[in-house]
């Protein structure tokens, strides 16, 4: 099948055009339902332990509004760029889709760099993983989110590179689509992290 033919014959929503696509689509949403519980439990643990600083540094000693704001905007913009990528996918524009996914990945990397420098700084200020119950639950919650970002970066990179060869078909479209769902979900989690962990931490409540 040539590429030109693909462009003409694939339907408006290529991600759910086949049964396999529909399965991936529903299956991934269900997985996100499970992830919600996973992060919910981590948030719950954090909320129960966030004032247990054991004499170590507390949230309001460490967090700075500007860093968190930068990280938040980076992730929010990357969420928008991955929306653009899915739009391009539905327009069957491979190059455009790859471009937007590339931007998404770069923003993801920027976020990770920011997070790593931030963690380094906290270590400097003597907030080690085993300093207090607050530090353990903080690093675990935010670190789990960071691992999700890292995995997303790797995942989106591999499928974007593969797009050179495979293009947009009813086989590949579901993959691009669920990867973008995953990326949005990362931002959903981050919204609660910046609110509950950082802002409430700085507000001192």
């Amino acid at each position: 099948m040539s590429k030109a033919e693909n462009v003409e014959t694939i339907p408006a929503h290529p991600e759910t055009a086949t049964l396999e696509g529909k399965n991936k689509f529903i299956g991934f949403w269900l997985f996100l339902g499970g992830e919600t519980v996973l992060f919910g439990t981590l948030f719950a643990t954090f909320l129960a332990l966030r004032n247990k600083t054991n004499g170590g540094p507390a949230a309001h000693d460490l967090f700075s509004l500007s860093t968190v704001f930068a990280a938040t905007v980076i992730l929010l913009v990357s969420s928008l760029t991955s929306v653009f990528a899915v739009m391009a996918m539905r327009d069957r524009a491979v190059g455009k889709m790859q471009f937007w996914f590339l931007i998404t990945v770069l923003l993801g990397i920027a976020f990770l760099v920011l997070e790593i420098t931030e963690f380094k700084e906290y270590l400097h200020e003597h907030l080690g993983y085993s300093t207090s119950a607050f530090s353990s639950s903080f690093y675990t919650l935010v670190g789990t989110h960071g691992c999700h970002v890292l995995f997303g970066v790797l995942w989106i990179s591999t499928i974007t590179i593969q797009a050179f060869k495979k293009g947009i078909t009813t086989v590949t479209a579901p993959k691009y689509y669920v990867a973008s769902l995953y990326w949005h979900f990362i931002d959903v989690v981050w919204v609660f992290i910046f609110t509950v962990v950082y802002l409430l931490g700085i507000a001192g409540r």
Partner: protein, 631 residues
């Protein structure tokens, strides 16, 4: 190639052992994966059973020195953990794999690859856990692994517990998602949700519970893991941690978990009783409603495991009321089964004996459950043998009796041969009577003050007689299980060939196709006209179910070794972390874990790059196969 006695027992003469091994290691066929789950679960059932016998042996006499202290704790912990995670769970997945796609008229599950991955993760998780016996001692904190006991006071056995369950839990979660999507997306034309057989309904709700309960366990295990290996402080009270958090997390997972176990048994009961009463299931809609309600309430009651922690009268009252509310939907189910039998032409096959015996046994477990739901009473009962008796009545008397009913009922569909009925009845009576003799006295042992989890008791406490009775009952159960094993071997060698509609009164779609089901399940996708569609067609005088499509080529997924390799990778990761305590040089073990993670990511990359186009079974081949199959 179909799953039958020949292909299972003997390697193909022409291709030898290697080819046989390759078939089973690479299969993505849900019917073969069902067999893998069944025998994987069966293996762990025998191990867990031996552990149970050792416990009874120790408790037969007061101040016995057969298994003391740590050794007893290890056997006890492994018995509980094995039976819940590596026996009941895989047995449930065995039947879900074998039956759900057939009941909804599907050719396969939604994610055949993930299905195979789920099995291998479960199996290797079980292997990791059981290897602890040979590598420095098994976990010994009970199946609940409460912190800080599990985090601060015990040795490497707990690392085996954490990582074994983590690996197996990942597999279970995948299995749950797979069956949810299968049921949502792959029902045959006309198979609306309210026409689904009840076993499929319970599989659906159970899978949803798995989806929402297992992530909590994942987090709980990770927190123990970080506390143990990286100096985390989640449960370390000295540094501000709080061990009550673990109890909450464990039971937020743990209570749904016990409903994950019991719901499929409810489903099996509904199928077996209606088939052998030759009657439609009484109150189908109320059954569906009750199943969903039980699933919802599963997440509302976890604190009843923690009444004595001291969370205060308000919390205890709310959760006590929610717990008692569960008796309502469960009661609906009990009455529906009884009314299904009422006026039916009942046949007491072994499957039906198990199903019918389930009802009074489970009611007894339910009644003690309501007793335990009263906080004031629970303060007296808790951590005594009364609790042990209660949960064995619901898990053995409920889950296991249901699963055995399913085993006898669907064995012909899975293997093409019927299990022997005479041996089956011997199996049933020994197991059933043995069960009651074992666990009924334990209610009274509990009320007399015998605490659970202790390795011994004193001679003057009047506990000896009932403990001896209990141990004698355990021998009865063991004889029952041995008879079952004999029956299985006998059936593989000399069993009667089963017809497509093996019991003659099959009602649901799985009985409309040959036994064992051909690789493609349905030559033509069936058109479903109502509840119990196959029975309807038979009553209309049709031999076959109306087809929804013309005969054509069938697309199948290719077998793959990837699921096995991925599971091996995670096993390597686990062993890396298990041996990363002070005993071994840390960098070495972390390097091993790193290699495992890299292998896992590599496998995922290969899986992403290599698209599986599958293969086709051609029309002519299907016609040929259908002719050759016994109907």
């Amino acid at each position: 190639m179909s799953v039958n006695a020949e292909s299972l027992m003997q390697p193909n003469q022409k291709n030898g052992l290697f080819s046989w091994l390759k078939t089973w290691l690479t299969t993505v066929d849900h019917k073969k994966i069902a067999v893998l789950y069944l025998f994987g679960g069966g293996l762990f059932f025998l191990i867990g059973g031996i552990e149970a016998m050792l416990i009874r042996l120790q408790l037969t006499a007061p101040e016995n020195h057969f298994l003391t202290g740590s050794a007893y704790n290890q056997v006890l912990t492994m018995h509980g953990t094995t039976m819940i995670f590596f026996v009941a769970m895989p047995m449930i997945f065995a039947f879900m794999n074998a039956v759900v796609p057939l009941q909804i008229g599907a050719r396969d599950v939604a994610f055949p690859f993930v299905n195979a991955l789920g099995f291998w993760l479960f199996f290797l998780g079980g292997i990791i856990l059981n290897l602890s016996w040979f590598l420095g001692g098994a976990p010994e904190a009970g199946w609940t692994a409460y912190a800080p006991l599990s985090t601060e006071y015990l040795g490497r056995g707990m690392d085996f517990y954490v990582l074994g369950l983590q690996v197996a839990g990942a597999g279970t979660l995948m299995g749950g998602i797979n069956f949810l999507v299968t049921i949502i997306n792959m029902r045959a034309p006309g198979m609306t949700f309210m026409r689904m057989p009840l076993f499929t309904w319970t599989a659906f709700v159970t899978s949803a519970l798995i989806l929402f309960a297992f992530p909590a366990l994942t987090v709980g295990l990770f927190e123990i893991f970080f506390d143990r290996l990286f100096g985390g402080n989640f449960f370390n009270a000295t540094n501000g941690g709080n061990s009550i958090i673990f109890e909450h997390i464990f039971w937020i997972f743990g209570h749904p978990e016990v409903y994950i176990l019991i719901l499929p048994s409810f489903g099996i009961l509904s199928e077996v009783i209606s088939t052998f009463s030759k009657k439609r299931l009484f109150g189908y809609h109320s059954m569906v409603f009750a199943t969903i309600l039980i699933g919802f309430l599963a997440f509302m009651v976890w604190v009843h495991h923690m009444f004595t922690v001291g969370l205060g009268p308000i919390a205890n009252t709310i959760f006590a009321l929610a717990t008692m509310a569960i008796a309502v939907p469960t009661g609906i189910k009990i009455f529906n089964w009884i009314f299904t039998m009422w006026g039916g032409q009942i046949r007491f096959t072994t499957a039906n004996l198990y199903a019918v015996s389930f009802i009074p046994t489970f009611v007894m477990g339910g009644v003690t459950g309501v007793m335990l739901a009263i906080p004031a009473a629970d303060f007296q009962f808790q951590d005594s043998y009364f609790v042990v008796a209660h949960f064995h009545y619901v898990i053995v008397g409920g889950v296991i009796l249901g699963l055995f009913a399913g085993l006898y009922y669907w064995w012909p569909k899975m293997f093409g041969r019927c299990l022997n009925e005479t041996l089956g009845k011997i199996n049933f009576w020994f197991f059933f009577i043995g069960f009651h003799v074992t666990f009924f006295p334990q209610h009274f042992l509990g009320l007399m003050g015998m605490p659970r989890r202790y390795f011994t008791y004193l001679p003057g406490e009047h506990l000896t007689t009932l403990n001896v009775v209990s141990s004698i009952g355990a021998i009865g159960m063991a004889i029952g299980v041995i008879t079952l094993v004999v029956n299985i071997v006998y059936t593989f060698v000399k069993g009667e060939k089963a017809e497509g509609d093996a019991w003659g009164t099959g009602r649901t779609l799985e009985w409309s196709i040959p036994s064992p089901a051909p690789e493609y399940n349905f030559a033509q996708t069936p058109l479903v006209k109502g509840i119990d569609t196959y029975w309807k067609e038979k009553m209309d005088g049709n031999k076959k179910v109306t087809a929804a499509e013309p005969l054509g080529d069938v697309h199948m997924p290719s077998p793959s070794i990837m699921p096995f390799l991925m599971s091996i990778s995670l096993t390597i990761v686990s062993f890396g972390f298990i041996f990363s305590d002070k005993g071994v040089h840390r960098t070495v073990s972390f390097a091993v874990a790193g290699i495992g993670i890299a292998m896992m990511l590599g496998c995922m990359l290969v899986r992403s790059i290599k698209d599986d186009s599958g293969f086709h079974i051609h029309k002519e081949e299907i016609i040929e196969t259908e002719k050759g199959m016994s109907k």
